[in-house]
């Protein structure tokens, strides 16, 4: 029977023809094919491979293995080798000096680039079979490929079983995420229609089947092609349908049963050998099978002949034996009693260990040793499983390493004294879970490790459990309080000066997880961590201490020094991530100090480090920094493009804060340009509802900026108490104070303005910024000026605003320069109503607002000018208006006197009054003012 025929898949194949043609035109992507076992996924993929080859495309195939003995990235290594690549990038352990700081993104990026390059000339079709058995890192790599294949000549096809539990639970979520990629499509292979079953049966039998037989097959197989074919084979072997003994031929209900029934027809010795082979896997070499079956190769060959004839197994190109379908192996393996399985696994392990080490897969050996552990050598099983875990870790296959550590933990009850290793293994597991991004799982495992450490009086276990979760993203997160408490406990258990490296790390973690709102922050803790870590010279401890010291919100000069030390540490250790942090801190400090040329130099250095790191998180930070600078300079369109680009990078890299920072950015841009204000306000309203109450200051600030003063006033009274409770070391302190200043000015809240003014006063030389990758609010003096003006401290206000103007010009920020001009104009209008320089400021603001497209400011300036015009008009008498008009025509006093029939002396008096009332120093200013007013009218 010919089972290569593909029946009933014309629609799917036509779809693939389209995707293959698209791929050749650089419209590549990924097609996921799901379906029940036996529905024909692999057959379909083989057919697609044939079509791709006929179209001149390169092809490669990688299969995931059932069972737990497959190494990480197995299908990808197969694919790379088929393409003539060594696969060493995935196989070779990392430089041990880099430890866990290696970048998986970079690794995946390199692989994807290699595949894109391989596709570039003729197009490339990749098939990944049996993804339901894949290791998680392999699917993560597929995810990276799906994201990058859209504009390439590369088409990937992933096959997996539907309605079946995945080997790892997270695979289902990951495949769903892959399906959301724009160039990914899903094909669900359904069952065949009755007519298609008839066609398949006819092709398989080489003749039209008997109607009774066909009806039986159609009813039983329910359109599953493999079931159809297996049933046909079974029934064909049972003789002509008319000869079936009535009532004696019970038909199988499931596909597994039909396979079992067909296997029943093989000689018992053959079936036994096949069971042995099933213990090894879907593919098995005679070299491994012969010792396993404990028989010479020729006898083995004799026994396998009936299985080959019955098309249960086939020979591969590599002269290995392969079960024709994974289900066949599953049925045979399930037939083995537990004790027999264990004995066979032990025999496989012994055979593998006796073979040359280079040809043995450590994952496979670990799997067989574990299966045999109850009757074999559990110590050896543990040792090899840990080696497999370490190898996976060096391959950056953290999920796979975590799986191996989980398996290692399962072996402990078999080992005398195994519990002594429990904490250590749990910590290794937690580190892998954390590196894989499974933060909650990692923390749960840390707590279990700490429980074990506590019970055994092992301080190092508790200390290590407290420092597995690292990074500033945990500051103020729900777990940070628990980590903080564990740090305190660990420090008590550790004692003093016993283990300075651990103590330094725990102290740094203690500082990083302190809640400043609960009064837990104590700069002495990070200082002690720094001293201890520097005394030990331990690189990781020193960096953690620098991180903690920076997070303590030390003064700006110290932050510059800390940044420099992190850069030096990165350079000395070869860890670019440390240097990247150092540049980030220095950028933040230079921004705060308003050092424009230093910002640019530091940004260029940071970009070089980010270029080496090629990590989405760092690329996101760099792009947001560039967006921040563009916004500050008034390049609003470019700022938006950069922020959108950053958002895409951040989301693709799984960076949770990316969306939030983009929203902050969009809100600030909306305030400056007037575009998207309502959407920004709605987004801010939603987000502040889920955050601490103090975040409503931000909402009030936005409403005030939009001119929705009633709503801002409604929010404000409840937020005022939070203004003074915000800890100074919080990174958002300066920006919150500036927001408060703007709200106070808008709502004329004199009482709060006094508090905010006093708080901001020591930072008069600063720019208002939280981080270098989030939008700034311009110079602090702008806000001090607003507050002082509200408080009618006129001289101070003017001094602040003039300083702000100079800073904006020096820093090259037209938007904040325009805002400062407006504030100066308002100040002068109130304090010296006739001072015409207020008009100059309004003119300057208007020019900038028009040029940059700052619509809200533009409209505000026009309104202010109108108000000034009205107030001036009210100041002059009707006769003075007449004189001013003639001054504007360029007439002398004598000519005006003649024109109006007045004495020259009287005209002189009128002109003097006009100059005094309008605070002008010359007739030219009167002329300019009058002409401008006429033009506006």
């Amino acid at each position: 029977m010919d089972e290569d025929v593909l029946v009933g898949r014309a629609g799917e194949l036509a779809g693939f023809d389209g995707r293959l043609a698209g791929a050749r035109e650089r419209l590549g992507g990924l097609v996921l094919v799901e379906g029940d076992p036996g529905v024909g996924k692999t057959a379909l993929a083989h057919s697609v491979i044939g079509r791709a080859r006929r179209a001149g495309m390169r092809t490669a195939w990688g299969a995931c293995l059932e069972g737990e003995g497959a190494a990480a990235y197995r299908p990808w290594v197969q694919i790379l080798r088929e393409l003539g690549e060594s696969g060493s990038a995935l196989l070779d352990p990392l430089d041990p000096a880099l430890g866990e700081a290696g970048s998986r993104f970079q690794l995946f990026d390199n692989i994807v680039e290699t595949l894109r390059a391989a596709a570039d000339e003729r197009g490339l079709l990749l098939v990944l079979d049996d993804l339901h058995w894949a290791d998680v890192p392999s699917v993560r790599l597929l995810q990276a490929l799906a994201a990058a294949a859209a504009d390439s000549r590369l088409l990937g096809v992933g096959l997996y079983r539907s309605r079946e539990a995945f080997r790892y639970a997270e695979l289902a979520d990951m495949l769903r995420a892959i399906m959301r990629e724009r160039a990914t499509s899903l094909v669900t292979l359904g069952v065949l229609a009755p007519a298609e079953v008839a066609e398949l049966a006819a092709r398989a039998l080489g003749r039209r089947p008997d109607e009774t037989l066909l009806r039986v097959v159609q009813q039983r197989a329910e359109g599953n092609p493999l079931f159809v074919l297996e049933l046909l084979r079974l029934l064909a072997a049972s003789g002509p349908i008319g000869t079936w003994p009535s009532g004696n031929l019970r038909l199988p209900d499931t596909i597994r049963e039909v396979i079992g029934r067909r296997l029943d027809r093989l000689p018992p010795a053959t079936r036994q050998v096949l069971r042995h082979a099933a213990v090894v896997g879907r593919d098995v070499t005679p070299a491994l099978l012969a010792p396993l079956a404990q028989m010479p190769p020729d006898r083995l060959s004799d026994l396998l002949d009936p299985a080959m004839s019955a098309e249960v197994v086939q020979l591969t190109d590599a002269h290995a034996l392969r079960f024709v379908h994974a289900l066949v192996r599953e049925v045979l393996y399930a037939e083995l009693p537990t004790a027999e399985r264990q004995r066979l696994h032990l025999r496989v392990a012994n055979t593998m260990q006796a073979a040359q080490a280079a040809t043995v897969s450590v994952d496979a050996l670990a799997h067989h040793l574990r299966q045999a552990a109850p009757i074999g050598d559990a110590d050896e099983a543990l040792k090899v499983t840990r080696a497999a875990a370490m190898r996976a870790r060096n391959q950056l296959a953290y999920e796979h390493a975590a799986f191996q550590y989980g398996q290692a933990l399962g072996l402990l009850p078999l080992l005398p004294g195994g519990d002594a290793l429990r904490a250590e293994l749990l910590l290794e597991l937690a580190r892998c879970q954390f590196r894989a991004g499974a933060v909650e799982d990692a923390w749960r495992t840390c707590r279990a490790a700490a429980d074990v450490g506590r019970a055994m009086g092992d301080a190092t276990a508790v200390a290590d459990a407290a420092i597995v979760l690292q990074g500033v993203e945990f500051v103020n997160s729900p777990v940070s309080a628990q980590i903080h408490a564990m740090c305190l406990e660990a420090l008590t258990m550790l004692g003093s000066n016993e283990d300075p490296v651990r103590e330094a790390k725990v102290l740094a973690q203690l500082a990083l997880t302190a809640d400043p709102f609960a009064g837990e922050s104590d700069p002495a803790v990070s200082q002690r961590a720094l001293q201890l870590s520097e005394a030990t010279g331990n690189t990781e401890a020193r960096f953690l201490a620098l991180l903690a010291r920076h997070a303590d919100g030390t003064n700006v000069l110290e932050r510059l020094s800390i940044g420099e030390r992190a850069i030096q540490l990165g350079q000395a250790s070869g860890l670019d991530e440390y240097a990247a942090w150092g540049h980030t801190w220095r950028l933040g400090a230079y921004w705060e100090l308003g050092r424009r040329s230093q910002i640019e130099a530091e940004l260029a250095a940071f970009a070089r480090v980010v270029g080496r790191l090629r990590e989405p998180l760092w690329t996101w930070r760099l792009t947001m920094m560039q967006a921040t600078l563009a916004l500050f300079e008034g390049r609003f369109d470019h700022a938006r493009e950069l922020a959108d680009e950053a958002l895409e990078i951040g989301l693709r890299g799984g960076h949770q804060a990316g969306g939030f920072i983009h929203m902050v950015f969009s809100a600030e841009r909306a305030l400056l340009t007037g575009t998207g204000l309502d959407e920004a306000e709605a987004a801010v309203r939603r987000i502040v509802a889920t955050r601490p109450f103090k975040s409503r200051i931000w909402h009030a600030y936005l409403l005030a900026g939009m001119g929705r003063l009633d709503e801002a006033a409604g929010l404000w009274p409840a937020t005022i108490p939070h203004v003074s409770s915000l800890p100074r070391q919080a990174p958002e302190w300066l920006i919150t104070m500036a927001a408060c200043a703007r709200v106070c000015a808008a709502l004329k809240d004199h009482a709060t303005a006094g508090l905010v003014y006093d708080a901001l006063q020591p930072y008069a030389d600063r720019q208002i910024i939280a981080t270098a990758h989030s939008p700034g609010y311009g110079p602090a003096t702008l806000y001090l000026g607003m507050l002082a003006a509200l408080l009618e401290r006129w001289d101070a206000a003017e001094g602040h605003l003039r300083a702000a103007l100079a800073v904006c010009k020096a820093m090259g920020s037209p938007p904040f320069e325009a805002m400062t001009h407006v504030e100066l104009a308002r100040l002068l209008d109130r304090h010296r109503p006739g001072d015409a320089t207020a008009d100059d400021h309004l003119d300057a603001a208007l020019r900038i607002a028009r040029r940059l497209g700052m619509t809200p400011l533009h409209d505000l300036v026009l309104a202010l000018r109108e108000a000034r015009r009205h107030s001036r008009a009210a100041v002059l008498t009707a006769r003075e208006e007449q004189v001013a008009a003639l001054v504007a025509e360029g007439l002398s006093n004598r000519q005006i006197a003649s024109r109006l029939g007045l004495s020259e002396r009287t005209v002189e008096n009128h002109v003097a009054h006009i100059l005094t009332k309008l605070s002008f120093e010359s007739r030219a200013r009167v002329a300019a003012w009058f002409t401008a007013r006429q033009r506006e009218n």
Binding site: Q527, L530, L532, E534, T536, E558, S561
Partner: protein, 104 residues
């Protein structure tokens, strides 16, 4: 002229070792550096912080000395001294008492 300016956190428990290190190692080391002009090692009893100013005739000499100091951070930390701030700055004016030979 250029100065290497530092602010240091000092652990009071190691006061004697710090003084010994300062007088026996740090000061002689600074004095022996190329371009050394003068140095001041100061203590603020209010904050417990140490303040240092070491002046050199050129920017390069000052930077070299700063690098040397940074390379000895482990030694300093072992006696409870860590830097808060360490930077090089340009000397834009200087003055000395009239009795000094190079009075400004």
């Amino acid at each position: 002229m250029h100065a290497v300016v530092g602010i240091w956190t000092r652990d009071e428990q190691h006061r004697d070792e710090q003084n010994r290190l300062l007088h026996e190692e740090v000061v002689p080391l600074a004095k022996g550096r190329p371009g050394f002009v003068c140095g001041f090692w100061m203590h603020d009893p209010e904050t417990g912080k140490g303040h240092t100013t070491t002046i050199f005739d050129t920017r390069e000499s000052a930077r070299d000395f700063k690098t040397l100091v940074e390379s000895r951070s482990q030694r300093a930390a072992q006696v409870g001294v860590t830097s808060d701030i360490l930077t090089t700055v340009e000397v834009v004016a200087d003055a000395h008492a009239a009795s000094q030979p190079n009075a400004g």
